[in-house]
Amino acid sequence: MPAASTSSQSLSVASAAPIEHTPYTRLVILCVAFLNGFAIMSIELLGGRVLAPYFGSSVHVWGSIITVFMLSLSLGYLWGGRLSLRRPGPRVYASFFVLAAVLCLPIIFLADAVMTTIFVAVEDPRYGSLLTAMLLYFLPICVMGMVSPYSVRLLVSSKEHSGGVAGMLYFVSTLGSALGTLGTSFYFVLWFDINTVMWGCVAALLLCACAVMLTCRSPAPESDAGAMAATSEVSP
């Protein structure tokens, strides 16, 4: 149980929130969490269309995509939560969005090359689609998964409110996912090319990074010491 004791320790040491809280910053964090959830599901739905020309649209292709997305998110949650233990602040938070945006670019530029290679190398479209989904989507979706627990950490200012804050965060990000699914499947694919929607997601992620950098500020440097102590225990 070292991780659990550490997290409560770091909460108690850095009892104040890792950013200066104004209603404005809360709103920004909730908005970027919403957009993040929106982009995740938008990219997932487009994923089916990206893979279909090489692996078909059989049920196992969707199986591959959903598996990879769930796996990426689960590890993203884990690592995002761990990262929030060490000196949580707006810079790292904003960097998640920049990193996710950059990691989405191979989906636009390299998908065909990656799939051509895998198509030739792997006969079975089940494993071909699984491998492709892993190569194209694991990293960006993992980073996007890190946003959620980190957002909770930035919003929480006291243990008593942590459940409420987490609930609110899940609410907005999952609502974003619901609307991202709906918007993409009902409208975006009718209006735009797949890559245009992908560029929209990249732009939205970069916008999130800018919004965070412009509105969220670290308060006092005193929380550093506690966070550093926590870090040393957490690292495996």
């Binding site: 279909a52 692996f55 078909g56 694919v189 009718l190 090319d193």
Partner: protein, 301 residues
Amino acid sequence: MKKAAMIPGAMAVAVLMFAMTMTPTHAQREIIHEERSQYRDVVVTEFNGQRCMLFNVHRGDMNQTCMDLRDPKRLVFNYTKMSFAGLLLNPEPRRILVAGLGGGTIPMAMRDLFPEATIDVLEVDQAVMNVAEEFFGFREDDAMTAHIVDARVFIKRAGLRGEQYDYIVLDAFSGEYIPEHLLSKEFLEEVRAILTPDGVVVANTFSSSRLYDYESVTYQAVFGEFYNFKLPGSGNRLILATREGLPPPGELRSPARELYDALEPYGVNLLEYPPRLTTRPDWDTSTRILTDQYSPANLLN
């Protein structure tokens, strides 16, 4: 008192249960088999001397394929008969590819007509294959193979291997969900790449929706001018396309005469087909072409 009260209640339940078994669907057609599928369950029904394969019976979907039990050779559906119009452009196919098995009527008829031909049949759903074999008399043989595979995947691989076919039937569109990756320009280019110079593509398409325009311009973009084929009284539209340009309509009459006798037992009147083929566009030519990047077919249907 209590017992007496229960008797009418039990009778009412019995009457109700009896009434439920007599609902119209059961009275009209008898379900003789249900096959569980990864995609949607496949149901076999018999009614009025016809055995049919259906998907999504609960929503009252149309029959996918039917067989006349008194004359199994005779084709039941118009679009199935119409698909043989491709023989007007290539009367002696040697390598045949059929995307979409259904009950196997098209490949079985092709097997009868051209015993020397090699036939590959593509079907994504193993359950459809099982039902076709068990209830519709579909049989593989040395030269006819059914592949459980997505048509796009098979055709892309065939292209990489440099294989070619001289008769390709695209009939993979059935049921509720349209496989959008089988409508795009890129897919049709892959189809064109495995077509021999004298080969023909016969595509069963969507005729009664906005998709008509989209499909037409996409085929036009890949194959150039093609024969548009409709029969009065039938809701279907078939596209006949070739790799190297179309023979003039006048040249279609002699293969029609030559093949008429062979096709008559299938209920195909090939002689009435040539005058129905036209290259005149009756669609909006300014429609956007469907591509892998843009193929919202299910939203356009």
